[in-house]
């Protein structure tokens, strides 16, 4: 997304001089409640362009126990681990939403999701910025929680859609073992390990199904920006974990609004981020 080109070019020098002079002459605070936000200035400007503003940096955390013994060899899905994951995610998201409502936010954007599965507990931490329509104080209904960036939030709402919440699903399975005789018979062959294919396929589908179910439970029509992680547990290499999450969305307008994007061929360097760490070699 880009803002419409202004009528006259911005005089950055005059703006800076004006700001520094204002401060030198004792420019004071505007009064009111302080705002905290982890949004970039681009994101803050984009939010402002659709009449929204940041309110507060908010958190949701949950640590859930996993009983001893669930990671040892077995067959099928490890339901205790999946349950612990789901419980932790739900509790963390609920706290995030509650904190958002407490500070008068309508929802949380740019939620950073951190999930750590450890031998005896699953840790979930969600951090994002509560936002609201500019000047509105009292939220209406349940706040939404979204891991979409403010940029994506602006695009989504401009298209007539609304985020509802984080949809999550997880599945942990034991990598199935073959019988010794089968392993010997198959050694050295180009052959599909059907037991492994089926188990992994099934676990992936289970994780995604749970994610979609959690989205449907919120009244969503779909889930966007789905992220999928998969791989063996570092502490139990014979267990493979699958997680899937994304932002559940619903069409609020009568129909999807087509935004007709313009083609742009940029002439600037794509890397504009300040990188002072280079000072340290």
């Amino acid at each position: 997304m880009s803002a419409t080109t202004p009528q006259s070019p911005i005089d950055a020098r005059a703006e800076m001089l004006s700001a520094a002079t204002w401060l030198a002459k004792g420019g004071g605070s505007p009064g009111g409640r302080a705002v905290t936000s982890d949004l970039s200035i681009d994101e803050a400007l984009l939010l402002h362009s659709i009449g929204w503003e940041p309110v507060e940096l908010v958190f949701g955390v949950s640590v859930t126990s996993v009983p001893t013994g669930v990671w040892t060899w077995g067959r099928g899905e490890i339901s205790a681990a999946s349950d612990a994951h789901n419980l932790a995610v739900q509790a963390a998201a609920e706290r995030l939403g509650h904190e958002c409502a407490t500070v008068g936010g309508y929802g949380v954007v740019g939620v950073r999701v951190s999930v750590e599965v450890r031998p005896h507990h699953v840790d979930v931490a969600l951090v994002g910025t509560a936002v609201r329509p500019s000047g509105k104080k009292a939220p209406v209904g349940r706040p939404f929680v979204s891991d979409l960036s403010a940029r994506d939030f602006v695009l989504l709402t401009s298209s007539g859609w609304s985020p509802l919440g984080l949809a999550f699903g997880a599945s942990f399975i034991y990598a199935p073992r073959r019988a010794a005789a089968t392993a010997i018979r198959q050694s050295g062959q180009n052959i599909e390990l059907t037991n492994l294919t089926e188990a992994l396929y099934s676990a992936r589908e289970s994780a995604m199904e749970r994610m979609q179910s959690s989205g449907l439970g919120m009244g969503a029509q779909g889930v966007v920006a789905v992220k999928i992680t998969e791989g063996p547990m570092s502490f139990a290499r014979h267990v493979i974990g699958f997680t899937a999450w994304g932002t559940s969305v619903r069409l609020e307008a009568d129909r999807h609004v087509y935004l007709k994007p313009d083609m742009v061929l940029p002439l600037d360097d794509a890397v504009i981020q300040f990188e002072a760490q280079s000072l340290r070699g």
Binding site: S2, A3, T4, I10, A12, R13, E15, M16, L17, S18, A19, A20, T21, W22, L23, A24, G26, G27, S29, P30, A34, V35, T36, S37, D38, I41, D42, L45, L46, H48, S49, I50, L57, F59, V61, V63, T64, S65, V66, P67, T68, G69, D83, A84, L87, H120, H121, L155, S158, P261, D262, M263, V264, L265, P266, I272, F274, A276, Q277, L279
Partner: protein, 303 residues
């Protein structure tokens, strides 16, 4: 360090040498000049702090007893849990506490504050209006119970502007286009802000049990084999919220922009932990109203 000035003898010589050094990248340097900011020197501040002894016998010792005053009566966060089982054995953890280690936070703030003060002092030496592109680090020096704080940034002069209030330069983690956009959006940087929260978890029996893989129900109860470890969840939430509130305490009614937040945890026993949350951002103040922003126009990049 002592004396009227905290900066080393070499610093004024370097800063008065007639040339400038800068930590800015070339694009940021160009953006800086475009805004009428003239770099006048790479300025920095250091502080090496020895951590005090917080163990048995220390005046800082807190939380070893459910009857002591967690937070040392310094207004810190504290929350307690009691064992649901009654008397089991003398070594059974009948109580648990989460509490804020205000003395650790104070030591960290002292180190950061000293380093930041020296950065500002160097910036004053060169007559700067502000310091942009600030970077700060803190790490432990090898095996010495000593932490080093280092802050550096590029001192700049705003061409044609009067001196900053009280001669104290403003500072920001931003530089280049991001700083230009901040100003254009109507915000003036005031100072970098960093805050830390340190929360100690003394696990009670259920937390210890669950963190070590115990099944998730208390004696006599049945139900799911997993459950939330409430004491640890609360500690994590508290660490983050306290760091935010400490930063908020330095804000007045300004805005803390572009926050970065990081959390570390250190296990010190079965279920016992120290959680530390660090939060950084730039305090900004509105100096003009937002110009009405045109609606964003969606584009597709061809590169």
């Amino acid at each position: 360090m002592s004396g009227p000035s905290d900066v080393p003898e070499a610093a004024p010589r370097r800063l008065e040498s007639g040339s400038f050094s800068s930590g800015l990248t070339v694009p940021d340097f160009a953006a800086c000049l475009q805004m009428g900011l003239r770099p006048v020197g790479l300025v920095q501040g250091f502080c090496a702090m020895q951590w005090g002894w917080y163990g048995a016998g220390s005046p800082y010792m807190r939380g070893v007893s459910p009857y002591s005053s967690p937070g040392g009566g310094q207004g810190g966060y504290s929350q307690s849990w009691r064992c649901p089982h009654g008397m089991v054995s003398p070594d059974h953890r009948a109580w648990g506490q989460n509490y804020e280690q205000t003395w650790v936070e104070a030591a960290w703030l002292q180190g950061f504050g000293s380093a930041y003060g020296r950065l500002i002092e160097e910036a004053k030496e060169v007559g700067a209006h502000g310091v942009i592109g600030v970077v700060d680090t803190s790490h432990n020096l090898a095996d010495m119970n000593v932490a080093e704080f280092h802050i550096l940034g590029t001192a700049v002069v705003v061409e044609g502007a009067p001196p900053p209030p009280n001669g104290d330069p403003w500072s920001t983690y931003l530089a280049g286009q991001r700083l230009a956009k901040l100003i254009e959006a109507g915000f003036m940087p005031i100072s970098v802000i960093a805050a830390i929260a340190s929360v100690r978890v003394w696990a009670y029996c259920m937390t210890e049990y669950l963190m070590e893989g115990g099944v998730g129900y208390a004696w006599g109860q049945t139900g799911s084999t997993t459950r939330e470890i409430e004491q640890i969840s609360e500690a994590h939430l508290a660490a983050r919220s306290l760091a935010r509130d400490h930063a908020r305490g330095q804000l007045g009614s300004d805005t803390l922009h572009g926050i970065s937040i990081s959390t570390t945890e250190r296990e010190v026993g079965a279920g016992d932990q120290v959680l530390e949350c660090m939060l950084r951002g730039t305090r900004v103040r509105r100096f003009k109203d937002f110009d009405p922003m045109p609606a964003p126009r969606p584009t597709v990049r061809l590169s």
